[in-house]
């Protein structure tokens, strides 16, 4: 992989190819990721990926064009510039397109692990083997699956406003599933973790924990309905991820489909609930700047339960008349059209142990994890999905027998509004390459709507 200086030099060279009168910003991305998948008790799909890409956005007379390529040759860069220019020349003018980010001096350093970035494929494979062994030591009869994701991305960014930055980030993520498809009512257990330093993750322990969570008894049936619930960290992570999109996405705010329309500045959750998006915090998977070069800025999304503003990239901030919060996405990403979305959620811990949460619920359901969650109605924040990998009855303040899975259909705002207690132990969860992360404790909720039950 190229050095940071070489990446920055390539970004300069790309800008130098722009004709006079054109402005632009360029991102050179160098990535190296390993994805060690295991399934049916063996390392099944080990995957190593290395790549370097250039992404260029150009502007002329308020017309914007974007192009990206993996061809880093001189001819490739010349073609990239011509392509972006050609698109810009026919673009409808965007009179509100903002200036590119200016150099603002120092930015807060990110947490980064060079060891993680350099971890060899064999070492990554050994992490997967450790997770397998850990799970097998507890559940020799179980079927074990999961993944170890380890790698890094170096972003070198330059623009015609004089900004030059190099922002590396590293990420590691491990998840383990142990299931028993051989049982009359199949059951499963799950654990996962993420960190910017692979050394901070104990693969064997995650494997053991997943196996220990496989219910021992036969899973029982329970009728659909409203229940008091404890949501474990992975389930809360999903819930907050959807809340971030439905409530704090810049496009949702602009277009009127945000579930927080007319509710900003108002209390939507109990006063002991504080949710931030903080891409600078080592408690998340931090990076110093976004893909436009704007320094990451913490945003209070729920301040003592009161809804804050949406996050923004430069374009949405200019339209809203606010300062950008550092949530610019890759301009060539098809997902960029979704607008700026929080990607480093941190829910402040409370003071309850996990047992306290279960006691608070008294009679209800413990949910380990959600599956295939989709938006039913964005403005009402209604989502639907399934429970998965460990759903239990809570009786008289204690965890009882395993339950067959439920489908839920619930308003995220209603769920958050019913939070009764926040756990004190937090954990970091992330997508496969650490592009977004949620750091959260478990929660006790007063109500959660399970709309159907299943036979498994």
């Amino acid at each position: 992989m190229s050095t940071s200086a070489e990446l920055l030099e390539l970004s300069r060279r790309t800008l130098d190819a722009l004709p006079t009168g054109w402005t632009g910003d360029v991102r050179v991305l160098a990535e190296r990721w390993g994805t060690m998948r295991f399934a049916v008790g063996r390392l099944s799909q080990p995957h190593l990926e290395e790549g370097q890409y250039v992404s260029l956005r150009v502007v002329h007379d308020h017309q914007v064009g974007v192009a990206a390529t993996s061809d880093l040759s001189r001819a490739g860069i010349r073609r990239l510039v011509r392509t972006a220019q050609g698109l810009a020349r026919v673009a409808p003018p965007d009179e509100k397109f903002p200036e590119f980010a200016a150099s603002t001096g120092r930015v807060r350093a990110t947490a980064y692990s060079a060891t993680t970035a350099r971890l060899s494929p064999e070492a990554q494979a050994r992490l997967a083997e450790a997770a397998l062994s850990g799970a097998r030591s507890v559940q020799p009869e179980g079927r074990i699956a999961g993944v170890v994701n380890v790698g890094s991305e170096v972003l070198a960014l330059a623009n015609t406003s004089g900004l030059e930055r190099v922002a590396p980030r590293s990420a590691a993520q491990i998840s383990v599933l142990v299931d028993r498809p051989d049982l009359e009512v199949p059951v499963s257990g799950w654990d996962e973790g993420a960190h910017w330093d692979a050394d901070a993750l104990d693969a064997a322990r995650l494997g053991r924990a997943a196996a220990e969570r496989v219910p021992r008894g036969r899973a029982e049936s329970a009728p659909a309905g409203r229940y008091r619930v404890v949501l474990s960290g992975p389930a809360v992570s999903d819930l907050l991820g959807f809340f971030a999109h439905l409530g704090f996405n810049s496009r949702g705010a602009e277009e009127g489909w945000s579930c927080l329309k007319n509710r900003r500045g108002k209390r939507v959750a109990p006063t002991f609930v504080d949710l931030a998006d903080d891409g600078t915090s080592p408690r998340s998977l931090p990076r110093s700047i976004d893909y436009e070069g704007t320094p990451k800025r913490p945003v209070r999304l729920l301040d003592h339960g009161t809804a804050g503003p949406p996050v923004s990239d430069r374009r949405s901030a200019a339209r809203a008349g606010t300062a950008p919060t550092g949530h610019g996405t890759l301009p060539e990403s098809p997902w960029g059209d979704w607008g700026a979305t929080p990607g480093n959620l941190i829910l402040a811990p409370g003071d309850a142990s996990f047992d306290d949460l279960v006691r608070t619920v008294g009679d209800g359901v413990l949910v380990t994890r959600l599956h295939y969650v989709r938006v039913v109605h964005p403005a009402r924040s209604i989502i639907t999905g399934m429970t998965r990998d460990g759903t239990y009855r809570i009786r008289r303040g204690e965890i009882g027998p395993a339950l067959r899975n439920f489908r839920f259909t619930e308003s995220v705002l209603a769920a958050l509004g019913s939070i009764e207690q926040v756990g004190r132990a937090t954990r970091r969860y992330s997508d496969e390459r650490g592009g977004s992360a949620v750091t959260t404790p478990a929660l006790a909720l007063g109500t959660f709507h399970f709309t159907s039950a299943t036979v498994f």
């Binding site: 995957h47 998965r388 899975n405 489908r407």
Partner: protein, 482 residues
Amino acid sequence: MDDVLARALRAGHGAGIRRVEVRVSAPSRYESLAVRNGEATSLTRREYSGIGVRALSRRGWGFATTASLAPASVRATARHAARLARSAGRSSREEIPLLEEKGPTRGRYRSTVRIDPFTVPVEEKIALLLETERALHVDPTVKNGHAALQTWVDDTWYADSDGASYRSTITHIGAGVDATAVGSGEVQRRSGPSSFGGDYRQAGWEFVKGLNLPEIAPTVAREALDLLSAPSAPTGRTTIVLGSEQLALQVHESVGHATELDRILGMEAGYAGTSFLRPEDRDSLVYGSPLMQVVADATEPGGLGTFGWDDEGVAARRTPLVRNGRLVGFLSSRETAARVGLNRAGGTSRGDSAARMPLIRMTNVDLLPGDHSFDELLEGVDNGVYFTTNRSWSIDDKRLNFQFGTEVGRRIRHGELAELVRNPIYSGMTPSFWSSMDAVGDRSTWHLWGIPNCGKGQPSQTARVGHGAPAARFRGVAVRGG
């Protein structure tokens, strides 16, 4: 390109390696054009070249990829794949079975394209999108109009250590519109010709011209407006008729994914999930009504899942999955087919680019047409709901318990379509739902849809797949308004 392929094959075929497959993207091109409320939100072209090498040791697979085609990078990548295959082999005591593949092993596949989309001036495309998007603004209540066009041209070379080699150039294109109306405390979105950005096909620019986007846009927008004041969909068990595009997604989620052998064998358990099906269910399990006929057809002209060979060098083929309501086949790879005793692979092993490991992916998984006209489907319904254009979709990890919402519903009264209803949702369990299908629409109701966003795998892959589906009628389905 032959030298790149040969270099990778040589470097990957080291000690302990049984098989090497090499794919080179050279290049894959993608164009995304989109306008929203008169402004461009995406004017993007992306080009990717790179190589992916998959190696098989006696007991494990390994895959490595790089975006550099420089000789040293190619050799290093192939060696990484081999090292990973050996590492994987150490974690298992079981040999990976693999079906032999006989047939044409060299060739050229090229999409049938009348007008190459990349030769059409971008001005012309933007003009079409702007005209279309303007046509959505039929009322100030339409707060957002959006028109988008996406094109992919993938030029891929393949070679493997058994001597197979081919080149394929596949063009996919699609476009669509959507309008969001906001008013009276309600938000309603309507899209056309389908959700997920419209409709897609393996074709050229002529397909987009044929979508008549400026003509359909006002109708799409007016329905979004009408939905603002429409009553909520009813709640209870009733007869429903699913429109072709919603039934396509129903097939995708509850038949396509469920019949993937990697899911069935637990190889996707840690992420996408498994399936309620078991290998021994083939030829015995009743999937649904005797009217249910489903095939996976990678030879279907124009489908997003149509190709010459899959990424294991298996020629495209048509595989029956459900015949007269009974499960008769699976989507399979060479390994999974061997594991369950099939006598040939399904030819469905595909990566979404050379940079991704091949996985079992849907090709064109079609529900075949029946013999009812659309009017005849309605005739049998005194009181029911017609569902069209997907809005939300969710199904459990075994592909049993599903809930789908559509953008629009219409009451069916006395055999005719009646008033609009908003936020309609239906739900069910896969086999009982398909068993409730009592009438299937004929060819006039059937359409080959393109779905460009099928996610699977780690690292994540986005496959473009096809689904042909008619309209169909189902009895006693749980329905409610959201």
